[in-house]
């Protein structure tokens, strides 16, 4: 039986599961692909919002997309110099 099974191409898993898994990962990455221009715009707008609440060190901001196998995250590292305590109440 083992011989026959080998002879007739048995034992191979169907390849569609592999296709499905690969497709999902490809799409996760495709859908989160961001142009440098868009990332710059995002950075500028984020800085504007944050600046209402705190002084930030704009020279040391790092914003990027962090890709791993199954997910993509927006990772922002923004050093804070000082929180504007009085201002928050005024704004809101």
């Amino acid at each position: 039986m083992g011989f026959l099974s080998k002879f007739f191409g048995g034992g191979n898993e169907g390849s569609s599961q592999k296709a499905k898994d690969r497709l999902k990962i490809v799409l996760i990455h495709d859908r989160t692909d961001i142009s440098p221009q868009l990332l710059d715009n995002l950075r500028d707008e984020m800085v504007n919002v944050l600046a209402k609440y705190m002084d930030i060190d704009t020279n040391k901001i790092e914003i990027d997309l962090d890709h791993d196998e199954n997910a993509v995250a927006l990772v922002a590292n923004i050093p804070i110099l000082r929180i504007k305590r009085g201002k928050v109440a005024e704004i809101s």
């Binding site: 039986m1 026959l4 099974s5 002879f7 007739f8 191409g9 048995g10 034992g11 191979n12 898993e13 169907g14 390849s15 569609s16 599961q17 296709a19 499905k20 690969r22 497709l23 999902k24 490809v26 799409l27 495709d30 859908r31």
Partner: protein, 270 residues
Amino acid sequence: MSARVIVTTSGKGGVGKTTSTANIAAALAKFGKKVVAVDADVGLRNLDVIMGLENRVVYNFIDVIEKTCKLSAALVKDKRVPGLYLLPAAQTRTKDAVNPEQMVALCEELKPEFDFVLLDCPAGIEGGFKNAAAGADEALVVTTPEIPAVRDADRIIGMLESMGKSPIRLIINRLRPNMVQDGDMLAKDDILDVLSIDLIGVVPEDESVIRATNNGEPMTMTLDSPAAHAYLNIAERILGRDVPLMDLESYATRGFISKIKRFFSGKRKR
């Protein structure tokens, strides 16, 4: 009369856009609608040969846009089915010969004359796609059950959504029920899972497609093959009729050797 303008597109080439456009156009005409299939693939025209009308092409839609001829002179009437027309592409021009505004104007000119304007879009995401999509209200996205085609379809769906096309519906073409049963091909639901878009039909792999192309006669004109039925069903769904999906399992016929193979490989339970 104000036509519904539908673009057939895919991103990836060779998945069956033109075949789909020709068959759906012929099917809609068989249902008594007045239909024009527009070949928007400037420079690489093929809708004329798929429809078997290549010998009757005189003018093309660039001539209409540039006012070298009247619209009525460029339209090729299909004598086999009443109400079916082709508006050919120019073969000796490039895609830069048209811009989206001109395509929109052309569609506006066609709308009062027809029930349906089907635009056969070129492959790719550049100018040719943008021109064809500009004139359309609705979209049909064609894909095959393979990673590259589904990936490109995803990209195209995103672009069509941002252009405000609605509804955008999916045709899964060239599905092989045997291979799906054996777990060797992406199934309909696998594709719908990742694309999250409405399905309008599944067309099985079918040798009749090649014969129909050889003969220059869209399959839906004669209706003697599984693919023809699938396209006819798609046309009915476009008309808003509730038609159940074909039972593709019944087309998964197999020979004796493949039955034995399946027995020994343990794939029969899938």
